[in-house]
Symmetry: C2
């Protein structure tokens, strides 16, 4: 074997161990949030920290640094987009980033996250912010510490934003969000001044078992592969991966609301189809995952909203839904159902928000993350600040913390910073990518009416999924859509769709 090939093989063997340790840690997390009994929490935190620390130790091993150095000339001899050059390039970028964070810190962060999640899972139903406050203060302290390992930032949130969305920082996100806000607020104002849509059909009693079985049928139809995945119940739905052959989603069910399980499934399946579509030869490598939070979210939102809340999709799927729930829906026409699932209203819960107001929920959280990190807002004042800002942006006051500051798991299981901007970037990109697919395959909407999603799925797999993290977010956006990120397609999409549903 020639020398660089041998070194590359050595590198891959080492990276696979790191990947496996991270995937094992993901299983520890999945189990904790789906099935683990309460007595398991203490050890689980410790075990999760051990996996995180070992993965970090193995990754920042000097031998990996040496291999990456030795492979530089081999990399330069290859085309930029070859698998080998990309593996070396992306591994080096992540290696240099990882070098800055001590393994003990990673272990501490992971252990704290596991304990903090457990406290949140009890505090939220009890509507008791005081039970998580000390944890959250520690999370903020750790988040700042993490950012500070990357000295030269413009804003302390920048390194955390960059982890999730490569190439972005607080100032670029702020500017983008300001533009979007300018366009969104008049639409929201116009819609919410109109009489509310009747969505009572969604709020009948829908038994859990039937919701679960229909929810599974829907994502199977979209293209989620159950031979390499499964669905389990949890508090706060998420997608997770233990290998490219095992990409799972989780869900939750409200028996008095049909939309929660249904759209959450399509959302998480969107994430999962991205991961399931990655080139299998990237298994366990730094290339073997989605490239950024925003691009990932573009896929969950594309399948959940652009497909899953479209008229065309329900032309096909609504009779099946009615067959599943005849008592509840036989008297409800598609002309009533379609506006109900697209009802725009000022509401409390981000994950249940409609497409138009959703981004306002995200902007609120993004701004809080920035303020908490820079110290202009304290954890103590956060619940009150949430109430005030919510009233300002939505004109309603959250009745409690349960559906206010406690509603999202992110700060209670990870870090504060970089956790939310990806959702809105994803919304923006979902329309940009869908438009690009339509340009090549104008037949996609007609196929959707027939329950056929393979053309769309195929285009996404070819242009986005299979590449994993080979390209950065800016690169993949440019390659797949022919331009840099732009809000225009998204605004046009909203104006067209909601212009037909409401007088704008």
């Amino acid at each position: 074997m020639a020398k660089p090939e041998k070194k590359l093989q050595d590198l891959k063997t080492r990276l696979l161990e790191v990947g496996d340790l991270n995937h094992i840690n993901a299983l520890l997390g999945w189990d904790q949030t789906t099935y683990m009994p309460p007595g398991g929490a203490e050890a689980r935190g410790r075990q999760s920290a051990l996996m995180a620390r070992m993965a970090q130790e193995k990754f920042i091993d000097k031998k990996i640094g040496k291999l990456l150095d030795d492979l530089r000339s081999y990399e330069e001899s290859l085309p930029y987009d070859s698998d080998d050059a990309s593996l070396i390039r992306v591994s080096r970028r992540e290696y240099e980033r990882a070098l800055k964070v001590p393994p003990e810190f990673i272990g501490e962060l992971s252990e704290h996250g596991a304990m903090s999640y457990q406290a949140w899972a009890e505090a939220r139903p009890a509507n008791d912010f005081s039970r998580v406050r000390a944890n959250l203060e520690k999370t903020l302290e750790l988040s700042r510490k993490l950012a500070d390992f990357f000295g030269d930032y413009e804003h302390i949130a920048d390194p955390l934003i960059d982890f999730a969305d490569y190439g972005m920082k607080a100032s670029t996100v702020r500017a983008l969000f300001a533009d979007l806000r300018d366009q969104l607020v008049p639409i929201v104002r116009s819609i919410t001044s109109q009489p509310p849509v009747d969505d009572s059909a969604l709020h009948k009693r829908y038994p859990e078992a039937e919701q679960l079985s229909f929810g599974a049928e829907v994502v199977k139809q979209l293209g989620y592969d159950f031979s390499r995945g499964r669905i389990d119940k949890t508090h706060h739905p998420f997608m997770t991966k233990f290998s490219l052959g095992d990409v799972r989603i989780t869900t939750r069910v409200k028996e008095n609301y049909l939309g929660d399980c249904l759209f959450s499934n399509m959302h998480e399946a969107g994430h999962a189809m991205y991961e399931q579509g990655i080139d299998m030869s990237y298994e366990g490598m730094p290339l073997g995952g989605g490239t950024s939070a925003g691009v990932h979210e573009s896929q969950s939102r594309l399948w959940e909203n652009i497909v899953g809340r479209s008229r065309g999709f329900w032309e096909y799927m609504y009779p099946k839904l009615q067959a599943h729930f005849p008592e509840q829906l036989n008297s409800v026409s598609l002309d009533e159902f379609y506006p109900a699932i697209n009802k725009v209203e000022k509401s409390l819960i981000r994950t249940e928000a409609d497409e138009v107001t959703y981004n306002l929920h995200v902007m609120l959280r993004f701004d809080f993350e920035v303020q908490l990190l820079e110290g202009s807002l304290s954890i103590r004042d956060l619940p009150e600040a949430w109430h005030e800002r919510f009233e300002h942006d939505f004109g309603i006051v959250p009745p409690d913390d349960k559906d206010g500051v406690l509603q999202d798991v992110h700060w209670y299981a990870g870090v504060i910073g970089g956790s939310f901007q990806g959702y809105t970037l994803g919304n923006i990109l979902s329309a940009q990518f869908y438009n690009a697919a339509l340009k090549v395959h104008p037949e996609i909407p007609d196929e959707m009416n027939q329950g056929k999603f393979s053309t769309l799925h195929g285009w996404l797999r070819e242009n986005i999924y299979r590449h994993g993290s080979k390209f950065t977010a800016p690169e993949i956006i440019e390659r797949a859509s022919g331009s840099a990120l732009t809000i225009e397609p998204y605004i046009n999409y909203l104006k067209t769709k909601y212009g037909a549903l409401y007088a704008l």
Copy 2:
């Protein structure tokens, strides 16, 4: 901190990492056998091997050897049964054993086990031994290799038997089994020459969901702690542990047979109550698990059979069972139900066998393990040998391999050797321990009639469970029952119980 205390703390920190790696590996296995989609198998095998190898590497670290040496005089200054002396003693014993096995071998064994399990899970329902034959040959080769790391044995099976049942070897087990067989065969002959008991009441249709809920109720009543455990479905029920706070059991359901889920649950809950009863300060240490296969099995069999198939237990529990399954059981009296659940017959499946014939199933497997290891039987000839021996011992010919050589998971997920003798040792010990408890607490049977199990549970916890692996099996048997292992109590138990059910 004084020097030995500091060294002991250092030792504990290292051992806890080893314990956590093993517990994490147990979770990988639990997930594989309960929920994992087929696509996850390949990576799971690799990940499981990684955990096994890392645990072994961390355990045989020379620093642990040095600490154990340095702590020898501290250990000798303490009473034999103190926690610290026991931790040092047991860790040293396991360390010296582990030193003999290279980590790469442990990794290979673990990876092979995961792949082999996956093949078995498909081959068994398909009744296709040929799909597992090559795997099984490799398992035999690895099992021999494992034994050979421990050079000075009398018989090649001895090291493998000793792992599971400290102090035992092929010759001692053979002698013990010969004694037991002499006593059992006449009982079996006498019973099976009588007209068969009618157990059709157990073979009505019992829907899965109701079996699962009643099965959970029963083990909760016995004392299995759901805040530190849970029950999930699998192919072949087992108990597993991810920490002393998370001890899970698994079950399976046959809708046309009430006994499978029910007695399997009590069996696995017996194992789990042992682990849940261990002193919490032993968490993650070599002391923090049951002491031997035989003692472990004594607890599963005690709760499954001595309690769970007793007349007294069902005096209390049968009305609850009837309330769960009124259609099936309201017309069946306890006088019909009790003989049905204790029906002695020559049957195909070990895990479903009655108490009397069960040991014949075990002896067959034990003899095959010994013969395979010594080379007097080949894997190729195993299915045929199974048929022949089965016909000889039971007078019936298994109609297929599915319920013959493929029925037990052990050889398909672990090693050949030492896997089965523990079941019969457990049967013997279950009666010996129960007798010892009765001597101190003659009220136990009366309490059982009232659904109270806490006195028995308390005695077992105090005399067996809490000690974990502090004492060897011979030590704990002597301490708890006042004598060495003896078959008398078990033979008396069988003669008394089955003498009342059948004319002996």
